[in-house]
Amino acid sequence: MKISYEWLKLYLKGLPKPEKVAEILEMHAFEVEGIEKKNKDCVFDISVLPNRAHDCLSHIGVAREIGAIMKLKIRNPKHEIRNKFKIINSKLKIQVDEPNLCKRYIGRIIEGVKVGPSPKWLKEKLEAIGQKSINNIVDATNFVMFEVGQPLHAFDADKVEGGIIVRKAKKSEKITTLDNQEIAPDESVLIIADHKGLLAIAGIKGGKKAEITKDTKNIILEAANFEQTNIRLTSRKIGLRTDSSLRFENGITPELAERAMDRVTELILKIASGKAGSKIDFYPRKANGFKIGLHPKDVLKILGVEINEKEIINILNRLGFGIKKIEPIKNVLKLAKGLTGKPYKYGASITFDSPNHFDCSSFVSYVFAHSGVQIPRMTVDQYFFGKSVEMKEIKLGDVVFSNSKQIINGVIHYESKEFMKGTKIKEGIDHCGIYLGGGKIIHTINSKGAVIENLNKSKQFRNLRGVRRMSESKGDLLLATVPAERLDIRIKEDLIEEVARIYGYGKIKAKLPEETIIPAHRNYNVFYADIVRNIMTGVGFSEVYNYSFVNKGNLALVNPIAKDKGFMRTNLTDGLNASVRENSRYFKDIKIFEIGKIFYNGVETISLAGAMSSVDFYAIKGVVETLLDKLGIDDYYFHDTSDKVADARVGNISLGTIDHNSFELNFEMLVKMAEEEAEYRPISKFPAVKRDIALFVPIEVKVDEVQDIIENTAGELLADTDLFDIYEDEKNERKSLAFHLVFQPHSKTLEEKEINDLMDKIFKALESNSEWEVRK
């Protein structure tokens, strides 16, 4: 939001230099993204995040912040219409068909205005923040929006046929907006209409039909409050974001409408003259002031710094909070008794219906909230929220719960709804009341409203479910009344943040936690990723991180960042091969690997892949073997596969594949199978004997098959079989294999004859395959 320094001066005396203003805002309120000198003014670009968009997308909002931080007094803009101008009776009719989407609508007619250019001061202010001056009427509405944060609209009253109707758009209705866009809103869109057609898209953009022109004589002013979600959805749907929609979609208090209406009326009468009619105010549900209790100990508990009560009160007062010191339970009792006789309404809203209508739990919730103790709204949640107390230890202000067997109204609940959702009470619960002492309870029932009865005689409390204590707090509590525009302040922690930032985060000293350290559990993915990285770099592979987005795959993005990045990668190998190609401009011998997430058939898994520039299957297979050995996976084997060269397996589980120059393994499977502990085998005291064996086999015979026969025949004495030569004799469709065999005895030295006999046995076993030929 652009904020003009000169504009701020209208509300603050003794405002320091712009640089200082920016600095204090940064440390106590908002990020200032820029300061721009403009003529004699200085414009701040302030980043107002959604929590403060309710009250600070306005100059007065930012001025209030500066005032609170610097202890400067705010001069609120004055609106003194009553004293200066004659109020005329209104001919304006307003009909709101959608009270849920339009919480307030104030209309006012001003007759006999002179439309013309705005005065210099007004033009300057708007231009400073990048707004174009249009005419005095439109400028006045804009100025007040940027001053107080309430969007306003002005219609040419003579072009409005009938009266103002706030309703949803009908099928095939159309509107031409002020900037000449033709829009056909669908039936979810809230619009402002007269009896003939559309005047505006509510809260977003005005229409051409009742536009203010130089010939306009009479105007209708609108200061309304539109429901935020509907504005947000509409604004997205029709692709129109305006300064007005931005404020509504973030939510503003309906209270603001009246202040803004008074202010804009005063301004228009001053700069465009005319006579103002009275306000027509549609405002069916006015919200109660929101109250939160806070104890200085709460501040210490969250922040870890002690701020004294006087300072807390002072800070909150500066921010516009009303503060009263109360004793919670005393207040509960007094407040509850004072509400005796108030009528029952099932599902009564605390915000809108209290203190005029209650149901049993809204009564309890309201009474506690207004005594500074926030408790859940519903009976069943209150039951789980409060601290359990024995009936014989019941105290004043405790809440008693029962199952009335539905004799009151509504539903029996068996589990919590909001607080610790899903916690069960199998006996069921539906009623509650506040204990007043002397066996008396106050509770709300549909026949009598809020009533005081003897607990043991009350029909509704025949099936008791327990007593709960809502507040342990002894002594005083600060009861804060939240300013209407601060829709962001709803819990104690919100208040603590207010105190903390105005007090200054800089004054909070760093302090290491005192809680004991419990040794951290090992994360096996991280642990083995570390080991794998060490192995891979040890065998000469460097690590790369590639992009997750690729141009083909089976998991597509709805909104890709580029055409060729429309899918999630299904493997790491393709990326590595591309990386090998790119690096080949600078390096000859390239070996790279990656550990990362892949998305195959929509399933996310961690993959490990390696690739190299030289095409050498046995070399890359050797890397995989080293890796698996080092991870303590020893019973792996390799198998033919259709799309790559080999499949690496353990039992019937595939670990991944090996291609001519690359491999890709399921990392999660490796972690599952990896063994951290290697087991020591004693080194034999007897000499090992080495023998070689070479043979021809048909070309389709696997090394594995040959090795199996050798090992099965030789038995335990054979410690190692090592293929040291392989060549293919293509002409004769056969290949030659040569192995070193190592025999290792454990109990005695081997005799020459024993070895020869064993070798003979092996030769025979091999040659029992008719096409195999041992070379002797």
Binding site: E31, Y505, E515
Partner: protein, 239 residues
């Protein structure tokens, strides 16, 4: 035997190099595990619930605009931060908590020297009976001092807003005499704890999130984030 020339170069064995983001994550994990933090993980493909709702960012809330999101055609999304790991961890464990969660995250953003559509974050969460904002400041300060091996590093907090913490702060670090923005943090919002069936009157704590790429850029004086994902060995072989 010939005379050995000791000034002639040795025959170096071939070795591979680790990616700088790996080195940074390793170092960060080492420091935090020494303070009793466990490493937690979560998926890159997340649901709206874990990425937003459970973190007190309801559907249609303007705060959702703070995270430009990649949506997937299967109805899920790519996590915009590592914060969903907090939720997944709290769902499966009982307090107290002390975790860090490094991982890849995604934002629908145009790419330039300081912005990438994919990047790495390090999430932290510490919940106990009396964990305070002053503790957050200290833990983060100790982390940066160890990470940059510089005892003079200071940390300051500034007001900010993230719906899953209250109070919410921006963390700045004074590094070589200059303040720079380095993390978002705050006290875990009571609603987030209660969503996980943790009684917020009994348990409280802090959470933070910082950019691993940014840490690496500061540590190694790298001026372009895109280098991390370019797989250029001329870059990687410098670490």
């Amino acid at each position: 035997m010939k005379k050995i020339d000791v000034t002639a170069p040795g025959k170096r064995p071939e070795r591979g190099y680790l990616h700088p983001l790996t080195l940074v994550q390793k170092k960060a994990i080492d420091i935090f595990t020494s303070m009793g933090f466990e490493v937690a993980e979560g998926p890159e493909m997340e649901t709206e619930y874990y990425n937003f709702d459970a973190l007190n960012i309801p559907k249609n809330h303007p705060a959702r605009d703070m995270w430009d999101t990649f949506w997937l055609k299967n109805g899920k999304l790519l996590r915009t931060h590592t914060s969903p790991v907090q939720i997944r961890y709290m769902e499966a464990n009982q307090p107290p908590f002390r975790i860090v969660a490094p991982g890849r995250t995604f934002r629908y953003e145009a790419t330039d020297a300081t912005h990438e559509a994919q990047f790495y974050q390090l999430e932290g969460l510490m919940v106990g009976k009396s964990i305070t904002l002053a503790n957050l400041k200290a833990v983060i300060e100790v982390f940066f001092q160890k990470f940059f091996n510089d005892k003079n590093i200071e940390v300051r907090l500034r007001p900010s807003y993230f719906p899953f913490v209250e109070p919410g702060v921006e963390v700045d670090m004074k590094f070589k005499g200059k303040w720079m923005e380095i993390a978002g943090a705050g006290m875990v919002h009571p609603k987030v704890l209660e969503n996980m069936k943790i009684d917020s009157r009994e348990w409280q704590g802090f959470a933070f999130g910082m950019g691993i790429d940014r840490l690496a850029m500061i540590k190694y004086k790298i001026d372009d984030i895109r280098l991390f994902y370019g797989s250029d060995l001329r870059f990687i072989k410098q670490f």
